[in-house]
Symmetry: C2
Subunit: 110 residues, 2 copies
């Protein structure tokens, strides 16, 4: 299925990106940004993360190209860089659902 050779190095890079998405705090941030640009303060309020924490998570998301930054006066607006990300999340949700069902069947079928 992969159109390219999956060298160990490439696998490492892919893993690295998965890791960025493997944190509830960061998914929360992304999820809020889904509705459009937000300042850091707005994100902090919407997620109930600490300011320092939110900022650090946003840096990481930005470093990996998941979000973009725009500065306007005192405020910094973050936004989703590539909406395709949400397809990843949706796919993962589907998997999760299938897996949950599979586990549930272990109980419901005697």
């Amino acid at each position: 299925m992969g159109s390219k050779a999956l060298t160990p190095q490439l696998l490492g890079l892919v893993a690295e990106r998965f890791r960025v998405l493997s944190e509830p705090a960061r998914l929360q941030l992304m999820n809020v940004l889904r509705d459009g640009e937000r300042t850091v303060s707005e994100l902090v309020e919407a997620t109930s993360l600490g300011q320092a924490n939110a900022s650090k998570h946003l840096q990481l998301l930005k470093a990996h190209g998941f979000v973009d930054r725009r500065k306007e006066g005192l405020f910094v607006y973050y936004r989703i860089a590539d909406p395709e990300v949400f397809r990843l999340c949706d796919l993962m949700c589907d998997h999760l659902e299938r897996h949950s069902q599979a586990r549930q069947e272990l109980f419901t079928t005697p």
Copy 2:
């Protein structure tokens, strides 16, 4: 895009699954299994992971429904539980590519 409400709890579960895929060793294992069932020993040899290590990673993959197990005599065969996983990896590869390009343009365009 998400068909369901993304409660914090659900985000946590999704993050958890991303984390499982965020390890090069585990991606390697999955990548080998892409070509079909393998015993643990075969996987160990193909990935140059330690036996204990490989076993532990496989347990985790199994616990989250990424792989399945089949025991036959002394051997245990692992296989991909849901080939859809590779769409996730492919999507992530695409993202990676786009992001790399974006970064590269920062250098090539003066």
